[in-house]
């Protein structure tokens, strides 16, 4: 029967696998509804291991928003590790939800959230274990509609053959609208079958249905055009923007897992969007405009979330949390409210200035000053102009020294390698900077007990950013620069001892680049990799560069392109990009101008405190910046920790 639990079959396999608790569910905040009680049934997935997927905010928000509807049920599924996958295939156990252990194939809609393209192979595992045909074209009315979201959905072309639909942008309202459409279609007796349903979704102009678009190619391999092949299907699909975050204070009931996960905290998103304009940052470009949650809503969410969950840590999240117009009052207010309790507050921020340290100081009143992270991103002043990260060397050193002087012993500095126009010299400057930081820090504190860690990530050009036209650097060049940097750091024994060095090699970045800017022809590569055993590509111990290179060599030449063509090739202004028909609101001419500005090292200021620079988002999406200050303050909490809370009826 549809909706039956497969737990009795699964249970026999659980003693044979590692960390079985991740497959059991039973989280606080999980919702279990009778199958027959709902008209529309969603299964949501973050296609990575449970420990990574469970804390994902996007999935938690949609799960709660959908389950609040009486006519809807939503459950969750995650990628199973290869040990269980093997057993499930041997014993014929299907991909299941962790809430009620129902078969994923039984649901109406299968929603997957992609924060990274490296999850694509896991999607194929989930589809195959769910007994859903891998190719969307092979599915019928008995199969769920496979719909993807998340940042990677801004270019879903590499997975276009495997998905039925993609939603760009914020999901809260989009999932409700999709639910309405599916509910209406079902209540009418499913007229026109799957095709009609997808057509209805496509006509909203905010759900992208790849099958309704044809892609033509030029003889040289570039795209000639992407056009709808059905009447009523829009030429461009627009992203969704949730305005007024105070009206959407989710998650209210965060999921609290039994298994250990990567983030053991209650996370509150204090604003969405960012207009700092860092040119490498896809998140900042595609989530505009800035929409703040007010200080009072943040305070309310923290209070209720902690009471509900029993977490003892709160993270105030956003793309650059120190930029909230009321962040000073938020931090002080929360620090006052939770003074003397064992609740700790954290503010991930990438800003490099003294204000950031003031905030961190407020949040660590109780004394624990273990580490602070700053993200100058680029090693030289020149490259920081290219990427529009406006930090001078002087600012950076002063900021870090201030941190040391105020009791922090450990500072982490985050940089990227492989940026457009980057030279060996730009990367070697990171070592000079780190040396300077330690020297000045020792001078200021009179102590040798200070450290800094240099952490390097590989740059990957992403769609809908000014760097979408840029060529990637080859992995061997990146690896060479990182080796030279390591040598340079250790060239001074005394300073080098105080500097930690962490980096990833260039190969995974190149593959992420292929998937990020690929077109529909890359789908065959993903499938080939998956068939050759590719799983969990975001995990170093599972990722195989060789497998991806071999799959590219096996599949792409027949299509007239290759791995280099997608990654290390610079695009020209006139080229049709695979995602041009997907509208993030950013004006392509503005993006091109910003790319030219990058090449001439010309900086762009933030539109929150300087006039609008016409990126195009607000007028085309009919949105506007929503920021404070509201002028309100957080009031002291009335003590809540008095007396046992005994449930009614106990």
């Amino acid at each position: 029967m549809r909706g039956d639990s497969v737990f009795p079959q699964l249970e026999l396999l659980l003693p044979l696998v590692s960390k079985p608790i991740q497959y059991v569910g039973g989280e606080l905040g999980a919702v279990v509804k009778p199958w027959e009680s709902a008209t529309v049934r969603w299964v949501l997935s973050y296609p990575d291991a449970y420990e990574v997927g469970l804390p994902n905010q996007g999935v938690q928000i949609l799960y709660e928003v959908l389950n609040e509807r009486e006519d809807t049920l939503a459950e969750r599924t995650y990628a199973v590790w290869p040990d269980l996958e093997k057993l499930m295939r041997e014993h014929d156990v299907p991909q299941f939800t962790v809430d009620s252990h129902r078969a994923v194939g039984d649901f109406d809609l299968f929603g997957l959230s992609f924060a990274t393209e490296l999850g694509y192979t896991n999607m194929l595992t989930e589809l195959s274990l769910a007994r859903i045909p891998l190719l969307a074209a092979d599915r019928d009315e008995s199969h769920p509609i496979v719909v993807v979201g998340g940042h990677a959905a801004f270019n879903p072309e590499p997975i276009a053959d495997f998905i039925d639909a993609a939603v760009l942008g914020d999901g809260e309202e989009a999932v409700l609208e999709i639910t309405d459409i599916v509910a209406a279609w079902k209540s009418e007796g499913c007229p026109g079958g799957r095709d009609e349903l997808l057509l209805r979704l496509a006509r909203t102009e905010s759900v992208y249905v790849p099958r309704f678009y044809d892609v033509d190619y030029l003889p040289d391999g570039r795209i000639q055009r992407v056009v709808p092949n059905r009447p009523g299907v829009p030429f461009r699909v627009h992203k969704r923007t949730t305005m007024d975050l105070d009206a959407w204070p989710y998650p209210k009931k965060p999921l609290v897992p039994l298994a250990e996960t990567v983030h053991e905290r209650f996370a509150v998103e204090i604003f969405r969007g960012c207009t700092r304009g860092c040119r490498f940052c896809q998140a900042g470009m595609i989530t505009r405009p800035v929409r703040e949650r007010s200080i009072t809503t943040v305070g309310q969410m923290v209070k209720e979330g902690l009471e509900f969950s029993g977490f003892d840590e709160v993270g105030l999240l956003s793309l650059s949390s120190a930029d909230h117009s009321e962040i000073g009052d938020i931090c002080k207010g929360l620090a006052d409210q939770y003074d003397g309790t064992n609740v700790s507050l954290s503010l991930p921020s990438t800003r490099v200035d003294a204000f950031n340290i003031d905030l961190a100081q407020e949040l660590s009143r109780n004394g624990r000053r273990t580490g602070l992270t700053f993200a100058p991103e680029g090693g030289s002043e020149r490259i920081r102009k290219v990427i529009n990260k406006m930090v001078t060397e002087e600012d950076l050193i002063r900021t870090v020294v201030t941190a040391y002087s105020n009791g922090w012993r450990q500072v982490k500095l985050y940089f990227m390698c492989g940026l457009p126009t980057e030279t060996d010299e730009d990367v070697l400057q990171i070592a000079r900077l780190a040396h300077e930081v330690i020297k000045s820090g020792r001078q200021a504190t009179g102590s040798k007990d200070i450290r800094c860690t240099v952490s390097i990530g590989g740059f990957v050009p992403k769609p809908h950013t000014p760097f979408q036209w840029a060529a990637m650097e080859r992995p061997e060049v990146i690896d060479g620069r990182l080796r030279a940097l390591k040598q340079e750091i250790n060239s001074d024994r005394s300073l080098g001892r105080a500097i930690g060095f962490r980096y990833h090699d260039g190969e995974p970045s190149l593959i992420e680049g292929l998937l990020a800017r690929g077109d529909r022809r890359v789908g065959a590569v993903i499938r080939e990799v998956w068939e050759q055993g590719g799983r969990f590509d975001g995990w170093t111990e599972h990722f195989s560069y060789r497998r991806w290179v071999d799959a590219c060599a096996a599949v792409l030449p027949g299509l007239g392109v290759d791995l280099d063509w997608f990654t290390t090739r610079e695009r020209e202004q006139a080229e049709v990009l695979p995602w041009d028909h997907l509208d993030s609101g950013l004006d392509k001419d503005w993006l091109w101008q910003d790319w030219q500005d990058a090449l001439t090292e010309y900086e762009q200021d933030d539109c929150r405190w300087t006039p609008c620079f016409d990126c195009g988002v607000c007028p085309s999406m009919d949105t506007s910046i929503q920021i404070g200050p509201t002028g309100r303050k957080l009031l002291p909490l009335t003590p809540v920790n008095t007396g046992l809370r005994v449930p009614a009826g106990a």
Binding site: F7, P8, Q9, E11, L12, L13, L14, P15, L16, K19, P20, I21, Y23, V24, G25, G26, E27, L28, H91, V256, L258, A259, E260, E264, L306, E307, F308, S309, G310, F311, D312, G340, N342, N366, G367, R368, R369, N406, G407, V640, N641, T642, G643, L644, R645, V646, P647, A650
Partner: protein, 266 residues
């Protein structure tokens, strides 16, 4: 700003009451590891408003001490722990508040105030287990048990943190018997047989766990369930643990705190 602080200001409130709890790990939640349970309990304590005391220092820890930890995947009706509290509570209310705040399947069953010195762990010298063996027939198990009992030493191997170790699984077994199954346990599919083993094992080092006894049965009698079952999918439940008396009974470790005279009388 003066000199950086090396110690947090102020101290933590002292322990004014110690309460000892029995809890169960049931059904699907038997797959929680001990660490999983500990995390879940700490959060449940905060949600339930239990006035838990904390240790001193930069990273204060709640005062919880565990007397036992059932292996991951093994259910239990009898796990024990002790809470240090900074305010007095009524143990019955504590059970209700804490149990109401934990996921169903992690169940707090009873609580008593610690009145007698000495640690809970010292009162635990043996455990009683019940093991369901899907794919094993009653007669098959009875034969294997007879072969087991006839030996004075049965060496088995297990991977431990120190590597592969060989140890005796016979000596620690105080009682072993095949129980005729009246009703089929829930979740066991259709017509597969399901024998049940009743077991009392002394606490020894290295510890002899239910799966070690099953390995022992395999060694002496080639005990192997019919496909698709395996000995690793056997379902073990700890029914009781406590002090083993010369008569072979297991005394509840909370009993001494309920009535200090009892242990002396036995």
């Amino acid at each position: 700003m003066g000199k950086p602080k090396n110690q947090p200001e102020g101290g933590q409130a002292p322990v004014v009451q110690r309460v000892r709890l029995r809890y169960a790990k049931r059904g699907p939640l038997r797959f929680t590891s001990h660490r999983d349970f500990a995390r879940a309990l700490e959060r449940a304590i905060l949600r339930a408003g239990v006035p838990i005391a904390y240790s001193q220092g930069f990273t204060p820890h709640p005062k919880i001490s565990y007397a036992s930890a059932a292996p991951t995947g093994v259910a239990s009706e009898a796990e024990y722990l002790e809470l240090g509290l900074r305010e007095r509570v009524e143990p019955g209310q504590l059970v209700k508040a804490l149990d109401g705040s934990l996921s169903p399947g992690l169940d707090v069953l009873e609580a008593v105030e610690a009145t007698v010195p000495g640690s809970l762990a010292d009162r635990i010298t043996a455990s009683q287990w019940r093991i369901e063996l899907p794919g094993v027939g009653d007669d098959q198990l009875a034969t294997a048990v007879a072969a087991f009992v006839a030996q004075s030493e049965i060496l088995v191997e297990r991977m431990t943190k120190q590597g592969r170790r060989t140890f005796d699984t016979r000596d620690a077994v105080v009682h072993i018997a095949a129980v005729r199954s009246q009703t089929r346990p829930p979740g066991v599919v259709e017509t597969a047989p399901c024998a049940i083993l009743d077991l009392v094992v002394r606490q020894v080092t290295p510890s002899v766990r239910p799966d070690d006894v099953l390995s022992g049965l395999r060694v002496v009698a080639d005990l192997e369930p019919s496909a698709p079952h395996s000995l690793r999918s056997a379902r073990a439940t700890r029914l009781a643990q406590g002090t083993l008396t010369p008569q072979g009974e297991i005394v509840d470790p909370l009993e001494a705190d309920r009535d200090p005279v009892v242990i002396g009388e036995r």
